[in-house]
Structure formats: C-alpha cells, structure tokens
Symmetry: C2
Subunit: 357 residues, 2 copies
DNA sequence: AACCTGTTTGTGTACGTGCACAAAGATAAT
DNA sequence: ATTATCTTTGTGCACGTACACAAACAGGTT
C-alpha cells in the first residue's frame, strides 16, 4: 500500500515551495530555469497523479463545453450519447461545467453549417462533435485547431482532422459481422437484402457506407454465390417505404435474410409482421426502443449495440481530464460491438442503465 | 444547472449547526429528538447526495476488507474479478483501504473451510465472496450477518444468504443462449455434446448446473429431437481427458456441435485442432487467454463473456459506498452476457482494458 | 446557590489542490 | 544609494467533509 504523493511532497523533495510546483504543473510561467529543472527532475521520478476530484474542489474556472450532434429526437441513438455525456459530468460534480447542446438536422446541410458557425462565435473551452457532413466538419475542426480548442468525436471519425480523441464503433467490422451472423440464420440457397438510407448531399463520412463495405467484403470472403439486393430507404416518407418494401419482397421471394445498415431496422420488422412474412431473418443495429421491441417479439434476430452511452461518456471524460490535468488520451477508440439477442437484451439494458460507474 | 447542496446548507435550513447534521447522517447518536426531526425533515426535501471523494479526504478510518475467492491461478477468470476490485479501489483513492486476499482451492473443501475460519478471526469491515461450496458459504454468511459485517458475492449467488448485493452472470440464460447459438451453427440432423467438469463433493450452487439446465431447457423448447451427449471432464488429469475425448468423438460421429459449460473450452478446441476434426462447432464461456486464442483461430465459434472485471468492480464499489455513505444498493445484479466472435474479440478486449472508468 | 454529571450543541482543524496576494530578489533608471 | 519595475518565490485561504474537542445546557444532589 504505497503512500500517495502530494504536491507538497514534490515541493519538499525539489527544495521549493508548493506554489512553484503548482506553477510548473499548470504552465503558469514565471518560474526560473533552475526551479523548473529541479521540479521536473522530481516529477520524472515520482510519477505524480493529481486527484481530479480534489482539483475540482478548488478550481475557480467554469468550463464551457459545446456538444454538437444531430437532433436527439431523430432517434434514441443520439439521446444515449447525450446521456453518457451527462453521466461523465455527474461524476465530476466538483468541476464547474457549462454545457451547450447545439444540435442540427442531419439531413439538412444548412442547419449544420449554421450551428457550426455559432460554435465558433461562442468560443467554448472544448467541443464534442457528432459528425455527419464531412466537409463542414473538417472546416470546423481546422478552425477549432487554430484557436487551440480541443475537441472529440463521437459516433464516427472524420479523416483529415486531429481530434483529441474519437470514440466510435468500427462500422466496417460491424457490417462484416452483421452479414456473418445473418448467414448463420438463413438457408444456404437464400439471397440477401441490404437496406440503407437515401441521403441528401454527399457525405462520404457516412457510417452506412463503411458498414456496407464490411458486409460486402464478408460475402466475398465467404464465397457467397447467391444474389445481393439493395433496398433504398427514405427516412421521411413512411408511405413510400411501405411501397418500396412491398415491391421488393414480392419481386425477390428468395431473400430470406436482410441486414439494415441504419438504425431503422424496426421499420422492416413491422413490415414483415404486418404482411405475415415469417421466413425472413433480420440483423440490425442500435438498441432503440422499437428495435428492442422487434428483437423481443422475434422479428429481429440479432441486434448490434454500438455502446453510444459509453461513447458520450468517454468523449466528455477525456475532454475534462485534458482541460484540468492536461492528460493526453489514446486517440483512436473503437467501441466493442455487442451482439444482443432476445435472451440477453434485458441483461444488456439493465447494465447500460446501472453503468452508473 | 442546480447548485449542489452541502451539509452546511442543510444545517442552516434546519436551524442547527453542521456538526449536528453530521451526527445524524452518520448515526453517531447524542442528538435530541427535536434536532433530529428538524434535520430529517430537511433531508427529505433536499435529497442530499454526499461526495464520496471528499468524504474520503477527511475520513480517519482505514477499512479492512477481505476478498475470498478460488485461487486466481486456477484461471484468468478470477484474476479478472480481482482486477475489477483493484480498479474500484483505485478510483476511491482518497479512502484508506486495507485489502486481504484469502483464496482457497476450489476443488478442496478443507482449504475453503480453513480460509473461512480465518476471515471470522480477522473481523474485517466487509467481505467479498466468490463462492464455491454451498454449505460453507451459508455458514460464513450467517456468521458475518451476526457480526453485522456486510458482504457481497461475485460470480454467483448462494441461496439462503442475505448479501448486501451480488454481481453474477445469469448462468441459466447463459446455458440457454449457448445452445441457441450452437444450433444456428450446426446442421439440422446433428447431435450435440455437452461438456462439464467433474466436481469433488456436493456443491449445488455450481454455475455449471445452472448453465446445463438452461441448455437443456432450450433444446426442449426448440423441440430438439436428436441426441444430447454429456462428456465428463476432470480439471486435473490432462491425459485422462485426452482419452475421454478420443473415445467420445469416435463413438459419436454425429456430434457436430459442443458447448463447454466451464471455462476450459480451449481444451476441446485443442483436441479438435490436433486431431484435425474440422466439422465440429464450439460455443464456450470466459475470455481466458487460451479461449481467446481458440476463438481467433476459428476453433471456438462463439465465446460468452460474463464480465468478471465488472463484477469485481461493482462488488467493491458497492461495499465502499455502503461503508461510507450507508448507501443501500440493488441486491440482484445480473451481468450482461456478451457474445464474442473472432471479429469482435479485439474490440472487446481493448474495451475491458480501457474500462478505466 | 453551588457543585457534579451527563447530554446536546457548536466550533475548529485537517485533508489535497488551485489560485490570489504578499514578500522577496533582481535589474534598470534616476 | 534610492526608487521604480519586473521577475520569481512563498504563504494563506477556500472548497466540502469527518471528527476531535470545547462550550452550553439540563437535571439532580448537597
């Protein structure tokens, strides 16, 4: 049981006052070469780890942190990320934090541009970004970097930026896995359907694209010789989707398995339910309420959880520790992909809830 | 952004001094009815949540906590539980804790009895129990309850005891799930093998028994009409096991899938590898190094993770919060059962590691 | 009333850290 | 040498909580 090392101890060992050590630890300047060297020498030896909860206790500053993601109302996925962020703040209650949630319409590029402009005006201490539009995100990232404002990504990473860290599912592996699981559920002779959303504008950062690539690569590797059909899907027009699925399933009767690359798996599940199509297996992503429902009633066979709450939690935690302790985190962080079934869903949900860590 | 409520605030509102509030919060006695009522009234209204990290700061007491489990050397499973326990202690660094690890041989009842006697002599402030022998555990639990020493279970719960909480996988569902997954991997016509360890003595708390029940119940529900064969397995005699498996697989050529109810799935995997049996699928439990290896090389198809590190973490965290803040936790806590495959294992491992929460 | 005894209440300090402010040196200008 | 200015260093307080100790009160006995 080794004794914890304090600022006071370091000061004594280096032959200076605690104040001087504090100035060095926080880069406040006004320290002589001599003192700096002495203290840094000691620091190297002892491996000082400050206690963030006590730091917060006497910290005067209030940190302003902006969180920008698609509107949470567009799905519980983003809500979970927001919950994780709040959890991290709760845990660091001794630190004064002012959060501003600036969400945008993920299907409207102007909404996103507008919000990103606001962020730069606000000049926050840090930013959490849930990206959608690639070019806009890169521009924001560059401007933040210019101003030395640290930022983290949740949900996905955008190439060409230098975040403090990102927390994302590995969407490629996710797609790969979905197809592998689906294959184990359907007859050898069956075709496969791949459902994805239609997007307005060009956003190549899109998670669905990575998932799709993973899915196709799996099928290639597994020498899948039957047909693969794509279903395009609009997020807005419910009736149009109904028609499209109707047409799809009647013209492709040999499709016995479908993967849904976005979080709207429940729409397909409901369609199958309504039309009494009982021999089509479904593998989907995201533990949204309707998806959970469809998993429980057996329409969805496997559901992949990307741990959005944990993403948000870590994105915020990382920022706070960087702001207060200058801790440099691991940059690339891929979430575990949890495979959830009818049997394990309740355990999974309870866990996520009590992940009050 | 609601302001945090402090002891001082409560005191002011109740018209007493902070010292009095403190006495009430910590049941130190010597408080008049009048003062107690006034303070408890305020407490009801404001919902005071003390900050455990600051409590630790001025706490004089050193808590002695005993952890008793099977030897960690018997498998990385218990080591993971121990790691979780250490993690919780790390996080509450401001609290003075003295831990004593008293491990026993899980195949030797005398070893267990011996260790449990020692615990009672030590008179610790709290105990974490990883149970194996049912009767001995019940006796220990009763004696601890008599002395008002709180305790938590990890790995499994023993009926007839009243722990502060337990953190365990739902072994029944685990077995059920294993069979369900295995079924999706093998031909319709295949038989199934169920491998379990031989135990010395009678321990009906055994996790394997619950898993087995789950497995059989699944097969019944799914109207499985082929044969189910049991393989008995000794943990000690490696050569004997080799012979047993040899006999088993040659006399049951129609077994194309096996579930292993204990953590030694890798033994079967290695046997299949060595004997070039390529058409038998395996579903196993626990992310031990050899199991991970067998998963990666494709011999094990699904591996179930019971989150042992999280069990240990919560078991310790719960005790600390009870000791310091008198927080009464949720008693029954079943871990999520994570289904891990070749594709997701690396993500899962990285996550467990950085679960530095 | 004066004293003792036991109960109830209030006050003050320590814990580790951040930061404001005072003190002490150092350098330059008069 | 004195003063002013700037740099470097040290000191002390606040934060929220636990706990030791002192103060105040109540009741009973002489």
């Amino acid at each position: 049981m080794k004794k914890r090392i304090r600022i006071k101890d370091i000061a004594a060992q280096a032959g200076v006052s605690p104040g001087t050590v504090d100035r060095i630890l926080h880069n406040r300047g006004n320290v002589s070469e001599k003192a700096r060297n002495a203290v840094e020498e000691v620091l190297k030896q002892v491996g000082y780890r400050p206690n963030i909860h006590l730091s917060g206790l006497s910290l005067k500053k209030t940190y302003e942190i902006v969180i920008t993601t698609p509107h949470a109302s567009h799905g519980e996925y983003w809500e979970s990320i927001h919950n994780g962020i709040r959890e991290a703040i709760d845990q660091h209650e001794s630190i004064h934090i002012k959060t501003t949630y600036l969400t945008y319409d993920q299907y409207n590029i102007y909404s996103c541009q507008n919000v990103f402009t606001q962020i730069l005006i606000l000049m926050p201490d840090a930013v959490i970004i849930g990206p959608t539009f690639k070019d806009e995100t890169i521009e924001l990232a560059n401007k933040l970097a210019e101003k030395n404002i640290p930022f983290t990504f949740v949900d996905s990473m955008v190439e060409g930026t230098s975040p403090l860290a990102f927390y994302s599912a590995n969407h490629y592996i996710c797609g790969y896995l979905m197809c592998k699981l689906l294959k184990s559920l359907i007859p050898e002779s069956s075709d496969i359907g791949v459902l994805q959303a239609i997007r307005i504008g060009d956003q190549s950062a899109n998670t669905s694209i990575l998932r799709r690539k993973g899915a196709y690569d799996y099928l290639t590797e597994a020498n899948f010789s039957n047909q693969i059909h794509t279903i395009q899907f609009s997020v807005y027009e419910a009736q149009g989707n109904e028609d499209k699925m109707n047409e799809f399933f009647s013209s492709h009767p040999n499709v016995k398995g479908v993967i849904v690359l976005n979080s709207r798996g429940n729409v397909v599940a409901n369609f199958l339910e309504k039309n009494k199509i009982n021999d089509v297996r479904l593998v989907c992503v995201d533990l949204t309420k309707p998806n959970i429902c469809a998993l429980k009633n057996g329409r969805i066979n496997f559901l992949i959880d990307q741990n959005p709450d944990y993403q948000g939690y870590m994105a915020m935690k990382t920022l706070l520790e960087y702001l207060i302790l200058q801790t440099k985190p691991k940059v690339e962080n891929y979430m575990p992909l949890n495979i959830v079934t009818k049997e394990t869903i309740d355990l999974q949900l309870e866990f996520n809830f009590l992940k009050k860590i």
